[in-house]
Each structure stands twice: as C-alpha cells, then as structure tokens.
Amino acid sequence: MIDVDALTKLYGDLAAVDKLSFQVGAGEVLGLVGPNGAGKTTTLRALAGIGIPTSGRIRIDGHDMGTHPTRAKAALAFIPDEPQLFEYLTVDEHLLFIGRLYGVPDITARMTPLLEELELSGKRNAFPAELSRGMKQKLAIACGLVHDPRALILDEPLTGLDPVGIRRMRATIAERARAGAAVILSSHLLHLVEELCDRVLVMQNGKRVAYGSIEDIASSVPSIAGQGLEDVFIALTSRGDGGAPKT
C-alpha cells in the first residue's frame, strides 16, 4: 500500500533523509519514531507529496508519487501536527470543500456521523477562529478521514486533544487499520506507538536505525531484550552511530 524505496532528501550537503526504504501493507500500522531532527517530518512530507525527494521512489496504493502525484494523493490523507485551516470556511464547508477535491459524491451523508464521532456536531457552522485548539485538530482529522483514504499519514495526531478525544482518536486509528487502511503514525508518545503499531521504524540522522516489531528490535540487541519501546528507543538513539541492527 505504501512503498518507499531509497528515499533521500538533501538540503544542500545535509541529508535530512538518507536512502530510507520501508513498506506498510493494507491494515498495518507503522510507528515512525526518532529524536528531534531525525528526519521524520521530512519523510512524512515527502510521502504526502508536499516535499520533493532528491532521489528514491514513493508508491501509494500502487501509484508513483513522482510520476502520478494526483492519483497517489487521492488515495492518502496527511494529518499534520499543526492544523492548517481556512479562516473563512465553516466546519461544514471545510468538509464539503474536501469532498469536492477528493471526489466524494456522498459527502453530506458522511459528514454527520464523522462530526458526531469527533464531537464537532455542535460546531458545524463555526469558523476556525471560534474553535479551540483541540477542536481545530479534530476538524483537521475529519478533513483527513472524510474521503476514506487508503493510506493515512499522521504526524503527532493527538496534539491538543483532550483525554476523551485521545481515546477516540486511538480507536479511530485502529478502526481505520482494521478497515484496510495503511497507517503511518509519527509520535513522541511511545506508549501510543507501542499500543497501536504492528511495526516500528526508528530514525536517526535521516537514517533507518531499526525496523520491525518491537519484540524483534529488542531481541536483536541483547542489552534491551524484552524491554518496552521507550527503553529500546533510548538505547538505539543515544548511541548516535546510526549503526543499529536492521531487522
């Protein structure tokens, strides 16, 4: 579903992402973790078609992002950590707008349950300025989910959500994966990654330092065998040599 092959992004001489390869299958949730500046956001932006890779190939639902960006983008949703909304569109109008962009004929029928799910039903005619930070994030999430994407890319999706919102979002991510979507979840909330993700990709200095299930990654390093993701993460990223075993 999401196929990344030797993705490289250079800023001058600096390799923000260096020959990164991984796959996420239908119904799978991949956790993308790494310290600040590891290249996670650059990777996600490239996957979403926002950033242009220096080299490498990205395929979304079988469509090459380089040669058929429109088809690839139509299959995915990118939900950034900082919600970007149009000041002069209401909540409802944001969804109508997205419906038209992604060609969703039954958009009005989809809106009501989605807004109820995200507790935005009472704010359908509100403008972004009238929404709290968490509500804005929920609207960005609604915009991402309303066209039923086959690939879902989430960058710190729980930022700004209240405890109920966080619980619902966790359930939504799991539900989308069960429905067959390929999900990439980037987050510093390692317990969330641990709970939701089938596999984890650990990045540092633009490179892949570990890739696989948490158990497999942990078992490949004797000192952290049997530990949780937090210990694994610290052990892998504090070495700074980028030479951890790839599983």
């Binding site: 979403a48 429109t70 000041e87 109008e93 707008f97 992604y102 969703v104 403008f127």
Partner: protein, 589 residues
C-alpha cells in the same frame, strides 16, 4: 518606583536588542538570498530602475516645483486616508503584534505603554525603507534646490506621523469598541474632533457642489476643489495636514527650515497622544479578558438554567456576532479545481465587511447623483462616466487590490501541495478566482452606466449610437477578463517566484509596507507592458496592412489576433507557473 526606574533601561535595551538583531539578521538573510539567481536578477532590476529614474545624468525630470494646489490635493488625499482609518479602522495591522511578540512580550513584566513604544520602534526600519523608496520614486523635480537629505527628513516626519496617527486611531477605536459606553465617554473628545472635521469638509463640498460641477465641465476641477477647500472652515481642517506636508513642498532650504518646525511639533504631539492612549489600551485588554470570562460564565449559566448578569448578557450578545455567512453552493462532484475557486470566492465574500460594502455603494451613489444633473432627469452621463472611470481604475489597481488567489493561499502551501490536484488546474483556479471577481466588479459598473444612461433616454454615452455602445460592451465582455487574467497571472507569478518580497495573506500592510509593494508593482507593470507588446505590434501591423482595403473592418482581425496572442501568453505562463508550483516546497525563503 525605584524598581520601576531600574527596570526601564533594561526594557528599552531589550527592545533595542530585539529590533537591532532582527534588522541585522533580516539584512543578512536578504543578502544570502541573492545567491539565488531570481533574487539577484530582481535586485539588479531594482538598481537599474533607481539608476535610470533617479541617478542617471540627465535622467532627472525637469518638472517644476509643485504648486499650492498640488499641496491641497495631496492634503485632501491624506485626509481621506485618515478618515478611512477612523471610519473603517486599520486595526488589524496597526494594533497587530507578531505571534512571537505576543508570546514573549505580553506575559513579560512590561507595561502596555512599553509595548506601544516597542511597536513604534519596531516600525522604524520599515518606515525608513519607505522613506528612501518614497524619495527615489516620488522625487521632487530637479529644479528644486532642496537637498536630498532634507527631503528624506521631510518624508520621515510625514510617514512617522501618519504611522502614529493610524496607531492612535486604532487604539481609540479599540477603546470605544471594547469598553462600550465607558469607552465612548473616554474617547468622545477624539471622536468629536474627527467627526467635526469630517462634517466640515463634507459640508463645504456639498455647498460648493454647483461650482464643482461647472468646474468639471470646464476642465478646471482641481483648481476649483483646491480653492473650495481653502475656505475658512474646511481650511482649518486641512491646515494641520498642510503643515505636515509643507516641508515636502518647500521650494528651497530656507522654506524647508521654516516649514519643518510645525511638522515636527505635530510628530511630537502624535507621539505623546499615542503613548498616553496606552492606559486606555491596557484597560481595554483587561476588560476584554473580563468579558471573555463573562462569556464563559454565560455558557455555564445557560447550561445550568441560571439567570444572566448584565455583563453576561452583553457578552452573550457579542458572542452571537459572527462573520457574515454566504451560501454559495458547491456540488460534491465535478472538477476538483472548482472547489479552489469556490473557496476563494467565499473567502473574499466573507472578508469584505457588509458595512464597508454598503458605505462604498452609498458613497458611489452619492457622487453619482451629485455629478449627474438629476434635477433635469436626462443627462446622467457625468455619473456614468464616473462608473466607467472606476471600472478603468480597477483595471490598474484591481489586480493589486483583489488578492483571493496564490497571494492568500501560498500561506497554506502545504495544504495545497497535498491536494490531489494537477498543478495546472490549481494555477488556473487560483488565477481565475481573482480574475472572476475583478471582471465581475468592472462589468457591473460598466453595465450600470450603460443601462442607466440608455433607460433614461438622455444624451448617449460618448455620443455613440446604441448599436455602437452595445458592440463596445460586447467587446469589453471578451477583453476585460483577458486583460485581468494577464495582470493577475503576473501578480501570481511574482508571488510564486518571490514569496519573500510579496505580502502574502493578511500579514503586514500600512504605510511602511508601501515601499516594498511599490517595487513589486513597478516590476508587475513592466511585465504587463511586455506581455501586451507583441500582441499590440501584431495588431498594429495587421491594421497597417489591411486599413487601405478594409478600413475600420480591419480592426476585427487585428483585435482577434491580439486576443489570441495574449491568450496564448496566458496559457504559456500558466504552464510555466504550474512547473514552478510543483517545484515550490516552501515559501519561507
């Protein structure tokens, strides 16, 4: 008090540090950006323009020194600008602090007065740039012996004073708006002065209307309006503005020296007025916070079914005041680019305040009626010419004024890039958004003029037959969108290529931003001229070749060829901009 005295230099030095470092880093960033060929080219263009207009030996225009009438007209324009600040408000940009300033300075242990002083200090670099560009672009004639240094000082005094006036007007408006009756009482003196001044000028103009109408017919309108406004009552209103502008119109150094003192006094008075207003500004902030708390209390009370307090009722009423809603339908199916067009049209429909629109319409109607001899019920041409003139003026100013295209949307570049939309379709939708709106406005004005003049069966517009007028109207329907599309494609191209040099979104504005805008405007106008050059040459040659045989009919193939040529240019520019957009990852350059 001792603590306060000890703290003041620290606050001032912190503000100086912030300003100085920001300028230094910004200049370094601009210099660094010259490594990119397109910025280097733009910079070379700027230097070439300045050299050819101002510095080239013999290149200086030998315009005579500007006369008293010009000073009065300039003062009137300044007065209109000031009135607009008071009536419509320049609040958004005048009172605005950057998000970082809000985050770091508002919670810091500084007074609101310190914040306003900081705002004045922070505006100075932009004011100085505006001054330099103003001196270069609006230079006085070479015949004026006033040294350039004195002109620079004059410009600085004028721009700084106007900047402070706009800030002061915004503070008074905020004070009045947020404090309700208490605020109105505190600001009543300011409003009385402003209202009295406006009434005096409007009343003088209304009384002199017959003379102005006659002057318009005789072609000496400018002299007449200057003479009318010099009359005692309106003259008293104009005098402070004339004092402010006087150094700019001084014919020599001696005249400048005697003219600069009143202007400096105005500058100092404005400084004290604005800084003194800070107390009210501080109150307004506190009161706004209290109202917000009341609003929350109202919501809680409603949930609990409790009665509302007076303040809470007022807050509840305020909370119902939302931006105007428009219901332009969007079908869920069809080409996705239409969604972009829909979004941009909805955005502008909501951005324009109803009150502003109504005032504009009322103002235009008043002038229309005043100019037209309605008492005779026949000759409506002067009013109609005004509308046609406004449409023509929009052709020039509209592409800079109507910005519901990339110039707004580039601030959300990441969103746009993530959409499953072909870059060409996106570029077309963005340019079409502003083109449609501008064309709609212009054609509405022309159509009103056409219909009103013909329905009343008075003298024909431009003494043309009805059939010729109809043909001209049909021609305008074809040509206007094309003309606008060329202008707006250039404006969007400049925004895409030089995002750091173009005002994007609603950020910025004000007198201090005029300088930078002018550089971009000059470049856009030159590009526009370049775009029309080839089609016009082709049309000219066609007329030259066919005129002897076909006479006026040769205009048809000539105009058709020009239209095809311009349309082809727009198409090529769109293709090119689509590739530029596809390569643009960030506007933070």
């Amino acid at each position: 008090m001792a603590a306060r005295r000890r703290r003041e230099p620290a606050v001032t030095s912190a503000f100086w540090f912030l300003t100085e470092r920001s300028i230094r880093n910004r200049v370094a960033h601009q210099i660094k950006s010259l490594k990119r060929p397109r910025y280097a080219l733009a910079m070379l263009f700027g230097f070439f323009y300045i050299y050819s207009v101002y510095l080239r030996p013999g290149g200086r225009a030998n315009r005579p020194a500007l006369g008293d009438d010009a000073a009065v007209i300039a003062a009137v324009l300044v007065l209109v600008m000031i009135a607009a600040w008071w009536v419509f408000g320049g609040d958004r940009s005048a009172l605005a602090f950057s998000p970082a300033e809000v985050q770091f300075l508002f919670p810091a242990p500084v007074t609101r007065g310190d914040l306003i002083r900081f705002k004045l200090l922070r505006a100075q670099p932009q004011v100085l740039v505006s001054v330099l560009i103003g001196v270069v672009l609006f230079k006085r004639g070479a015949s004026s012996p006033t040294p350039a240094a004195l002109q620079i000082i004059a410009y600085w005094v004028i721009i700084s004073t106007l900047h402070m006036h706009r800030l002061g007007a915004s503070l008074v408006r905020a004070n009045t708006g947020q404090h309700g009756v208490a605020g109105a009482k505190r600001t009543i003196a300011a409003w009385a002065v402003v209202g009295g001044a406006m009434t005096a000028v409007i009343a003088t103009l209304v009384i002199a209307l017959p003379r102005l109408q006659a002057a318009l017919a005789n072609g000496d309108f400018i002299q007449m309006i200057a003479s009318v406004l010099r009359q005692p009552v309106s003259g008293a209103v104009l005098t402070p503005v004339l004092w402010l502008l006087a150094p700019l119109f001084a014919i020599d150094s001696a005249a400048w020296l005697s003219a600069i003192w009143p202007a400096l006094v105005l500058l100092v008075l404005h400084y004290f007025w604005v800084v003194r207003t800070h107390a009210a500004f501080e109150d307004a902030a506190v009161e706004a916070s209290a109202k917000r708390a009341d609003r929350l209390a109202t919501m809680r009370a409603r949930r609990m079914g409790a009665p509302l307090s007076t303040n809470a009722k007022a807050a509840a009423k305020e909370s119902r005041e939302r931006p105007a809603r428009t219901w332009i339908p969007l079908s869920p199916t069809g080409h996705p680019a239409v969604a972009i067009l829909w979004k941009n049209i909805v955005s502008i429909a909501r951005e324009v305040r109803r009150s502003t629109l109504l005032l504009l319409i009322a103002g235009t109607l008043t002038i229309y009626v005043a100019l037209s001899k309605v008492q005779e019920g026949t000759d409506l041409r002067p009013g109609s010419y005004l509308l046609i003139g406004m449409a023509g003026f929009l052709a020039v100013i509209g592409p800079m004024w109507i910005r519901n295209d990339f110039r707004t949307d580039l601030t959300k570049l990441e969103l746009l890039r993530g959409y499953p939309l072909d870059p060409r379709a996106l570029v077309v939708a963005e340019i079409a958004s502003s083109t449609l709106l501008l064309t709609g406005l212009q054609l509405t004005l022309v159509l009103i003029a056409f219909v009103v003049t013909n329905v009343t069966k008075g003298p024909a517009l431009f003494n043309l037959s009805f059939a010729t007028q109809l043909a001209a109207l049909a021609g305008l329907v074809v040509l206007t969108p094309l003309l606008n599309a060329v202008s707006l494609t250039i404006q969007n191209a400049v925004a895409l290529l030089f995002p750091a040099w173009v005002k994007l979104g609603a950020v910025g504005g004000g007198i201090e931003a005029i300088g930078q805008t002018m550089m971009v405007t000059v470049a856009s106008v030159l590009l526009l001229a370049l775009a029309w050059l080839l089609p016009v040459i082709v049309a000219g040659l066609t007329i030259l070749l066919l005129w002897t045989t076909y006479g006026a009919m040769s205009l048809v193939p000539a105009i058709t060829l020009a239209v095809i040529g311009v349309a082809a240019e727009v198409w090529l520019m769109v293709q090119w901009l689509a590739t530029v957009f596809a390569r643009t990852e960030s506007i933070a350059e």
